[in-house]
């Protein structure tokens, strides 16, 4: 009886082993076929994509490419036909309308809840014109206003006045490998001699691959401070902030906002942070005035911190 039982157990174990092996083979075969059927992208789609987008494009509308990992090639299909006065890589709640370019037909999570007004398909590319049911009007774009006449930038110990960072429009400077940006933009505030230590408008992506126009800062032992003295009145500041991964270890930084010298909110960011926005509401914003951004590194592992912010 025992021998028969053991034999049955052995048979079952063998059958289970065989079945597992066959299931792995089958799963891998399905994965191979699924990969082979994935939509592909090619410049042949370019002229049709341009023709489809042109009638949809209006000044001020957003353009969103999805999936985020394909944003470069998808936007590259439009090339010089890209609508010049459109907004790309911005926080979408400010937009009234947006054109979504989707490879494979997946919907952008950023535009979830938006109403589809128009739709067309070009090969593996789906193009939709969407309307935002609840736009949150923009009062003052702190990223766009990072200009010498509108903003003052300084660097120094946290809480202090700091030394001013001078604005320049010199040639771009190549940045060291390992940073999430290939070069420092032409228009920038330079804080010291380190090419990384500038403050300027760039486009970076977060841990999920979502890209945003944001303010590049590279705080070292000193904090970086950016002030906009003449901000239009609003009710809150909508903020998204990330810290890049440092090759030497985990980075943490503190992002603090002040309105007319009073702290209205602060948040710690690290390499896992995303551009998911948070709102800093304060009655101090109602009359307009000065808004200050302070970015302070909390660890010795240096990495850039990028902040997207706008007054609503």
């Amino acid at each position: 009886m025992n021998q028969a039982g053991t034999s049955l157990q052995v048979r079952r174990a063998r059958a289970a082993t065989l079945l597992s092996v066959l299931l792995v083979a089958l799963a891998e075969l399905i994965a191979v076929l699924w990969g082979a059927l994935r939509p592909s992208l090619g410049p042949a789609l370019s002229s049709q994509a341009r023709a489809a987008v042109a009638p949809m494009a209006h000044p001020g509308d957003g353009v969103v490419a999805t999936p985020a990992a394909f944003a470069g090639p998808v936007l590259g299909l439009l090339g010089e036909a890209f609508p010049r006065e459109s907004q790309v890589f911005v926080e979408p709640s400010r937009l009234q309308h947006a054109i979504e370019l989707s490879l494979g037909g997946s919907s952008s999570p950023e535009l979830s809840g938006w109403d589809t007004k128009q739709q067309s398909r070009v090969g593996s590319l789906r193009i939709r014109y969407l309307s935002n049911p609840k736009p949150v009007p923009l009062r003052y774009d702190l990223v766009a206003k990072l200009q010498p006449g509108d903003a003052l930038v300084s660097s120094g110990p946290a809480g202090g006045a700091g030394a001013p960072c001078n604005h320049s429009t010199a040639a771009e400077v190549e940045l060291p490998a390992g940073l999430p940006l290939p070069w420092a933009p032409r228009s920038r505030f330079s804080c010291g001699n380190d090419p990384r230590g500038f403050v300027g408008q760039v486009i970076l992506d977060d841990a999920r691959g979502t890209s945003r126009r944001c303010i590049w800062t590279f705080p070292t032992t000193n904090a970086v401070k950016v002030s906009w003295p003449k901000v239009a009145p609003g009710s809150f500041v909508r903020v998204g902030a990330i810290a890049s991964r440092s090759p030497t270890g985990s980075t943490r930084a503190k992002v603090r906002f002040k309105a007319n010298a009073a702290v209205i909110g602060e948040r710690e960011v690290d390499a896992s942070s995303t551009f998911d926005s948070f709102d800093l509401a304060s009655p101090m914003l109602a009359g307009g005035g000065e808004i200050t951004l302070e970015v302070e590194q909390l660890t010795e592992h240096l990495a850039p911190v990028c902040v997207e912010a706008s007054v609503r």
Binding site: R14, A15, T17, L18, S20, V21, L22, V24, A25, L26, A27, E28, L29, A31, V32, W34, G35, A36, R38, P39, S40, L41, G42, P43, S46, A69, F70, A71, G72, P73, L75, G76, L77, L78, G79, E80, A81, F82, R84, V88, F89, G104, E172, E174, A177, G178, P180, L181, P182, W183, P185, R186, Q201, V202, I203, L204, D205, S211, R213, P247
Partner: protein, 548 residues
Amino acid sequence: MRRIKLSPRVADFLIGLGLFTATLVVLVLLSRLTAIGAHEQKWTGAARAVGLWIDRAAHEGRAVLGGKLRDPMLAPVQAQCQLPALLSGYVWEVASHRHTWMTDTLGLRFGFLVFNALGVAMLYALVVQAWGRRVALFACAFYLLVPRSLHMLVGATGDGLAITAWLLLAAFYLRSLRGGSIGWTIATGAVFGLSLALSTSVLWLAGILIAHTIWARRAEAREAAKDGAITVPSALLAAIVIAPVVFLLCTPWLWNETGIRMRQLFTTSIAPSIVPTYYAGMLVAAPPLPKGFALRSVVLSLPTITVVLTGAGAAVLARRWWMARREQGEPERLSLGALIALAIVFAVAWPAISPDVLAVYPPRWILAFPWLGALAGVGLDACIGMASELLASRSARLRGAAIVGGASLILCVPAIESVRSPSTLAAAFSPLSGGARSVIESRTLPVNDAAMVAQIAPSIDEQARPSISIWAPDVGADVWDVLRANGRLRTVVRAAGNARDADMVLVSGGAGGEAVVRALLLRNGTPPALLGVVARDGAVLLSLYRVK
């Protein structure tokens, strides 16, 4: 009709010959579709020089055989890979230069393809001795049907030759270990010299074989020790005497300044080295070196079903070893098992445990492929055995159909993965391990591979500009010359210093390439226009943009 009964040895020889021929045909067909990579340029350049030298010798006679004219020809490769370079050079001279029977690319690679195909036949010869034909055939299939393996074998690479050299020596060593005529011992010594001429990495295998001999002859050694004597394997003695002669004969570079060049060759072959290489998305250029590099690369690169069967094969061998300890049986099966275990430990585990001062980075983990293939063959054979037992009560026809169907499913998965797209085989991680996307994220994509860049070349030529500047940070500057030399590109390409001033940018998929496109968009107000992509399984491996 006469029936001729073949002896097992003759039958195995014919099967091995058939495998060699079939593999060579497959490699030739795939090689025609794959452009010469920058990493092959050294070897194919040497083959071309050899071909021209042979051409000159045919016209000018023995005068050109002298050292003064021979040395410049061999200087690019010096003492490495001379046999395949000599063979390729001869084939190219006859079949591509003098006649037009072969394309330049195939002619220059042909010698390498011959030796790469020989590796498969040697794996069969090695495994069939101990584990029978079915396991040996499965082993060859699992070795060949790995995308990275196939990509390596269709070109002129040192790794493919190293594997052949290892298998060649191991097959003869194992045969001589079984005893028999002195002829096998002498042949093993000669093959050691021949293998050394193919790849100096055989020196590492020599160490493994010494360890294996000590294990296999431990009882004999114990007996001898009791009498105050030591045992020395006869193959080792033969190797010491014969191998240097054969090695020197096969390596013309060493015919001049023999002592100096030998010393240079062997010190560089076994010296620790670190080549900056990405691991899990991070560039590693100095210690501490990632200990999991080899294991991670093996698991991601092998088809998942092969990994599973390799584990099954290892479990079967472990069980056999355990049983044999009690029953003293199956010494030959265990002997091959022990050799495979030692080889895998060297290729996969040694990089994980060796101190950084002795490390070779990146480790040559690809040397483990044939040995892992053999284990997978054992695993599949065991599965077939189990299926036969489970279906014993069924009809022979049903049993046969079920077994053939299951084995076909298992083998067709790596086969489809391997031959689907020759130009992107270097990026073919197993789809269950993340596939091409995982290659991009971990930055292990060898974008200096001209096979992949060649797919972009028509997009460059379509611009109809005689000369352009391209910023391609991940692609070696010499790739463009390689493509032009092999007729894959017409346009003259100049390397641009930065993306902003270039006519075009060529970036690899993933965060780095996306960052460049975004930066150009911010700078110019419009994104650079997409001109071409190389994609696999929906992932963009390379993309070409027009900047101006």
